[in-house]
Symmetry: C2
């Protein structure tokens, strides 16, 4: 899907890590929520509240998911899921454009 | 206005200057178009096709508009307009969150 229709967009960006990660929040008519964001190269650890589906639109990173010791490489067109109330670390190798869906 | 309702969002980001400037495109039911973007600190020159209203949501920059020799400082809550088919240069002093409206 190349676009989202009939959504509400929060105007102000969400800024993390001094702007090395930024996103915009989208609200859908069914009550669901996504964010569209950009990660600059670097290493970042995020905490989750809801479970998340992270779709990588373009970019190249490695992710360390909770309960796994290793790193998994993810490139544009791939995705990963993160459980609720956990955390994950990404090593972003090149500018990464993502879509994060918050799962029920 | 803190949010835009009933809009179409293009999923993939627009990436400029190696990701130092990124934006997302919003399409409105009336046919108008805006982009919501982030500029990292740095100096950037942009060309315009349509005239643009640049609202600075948060941040701090100086702008040099076409036909003016000088620089004007703009901070969060302020805005500036740029004519169509021209160019402008910004010196971004701190991470800047903006909303650009393309004017008819």
């Amino acid at each position: 899907m190349s676009q989202f229709e009939n959504v509400t967009v929060i105007k102000q960006a969400n800024v993390y890590f001094d702007g090395q990660v930024i996103s915009r929040t989208l609200l859908f008519a069914d009550g669901s929520r996504k964010s569209l964001g950009i990660m600059q190269p670097g290493t970042f650890t995020f905490g989750t509240q809801d479970a998340e589906l992270m779709e990588i639109l373009t970019g190249d990173l490695e992710v360390q998911l909770p309960g796994t010791g290793g790193w998994r490489r993810i490139v544009g067109g791939e995705s990963f899921e993160v459980p609720a109330d956990s955390s994950f670390t990404v090593k972003v190798n090149e500018l990464t454009d993502y879509c994060c869906s918050y799962l029920p």
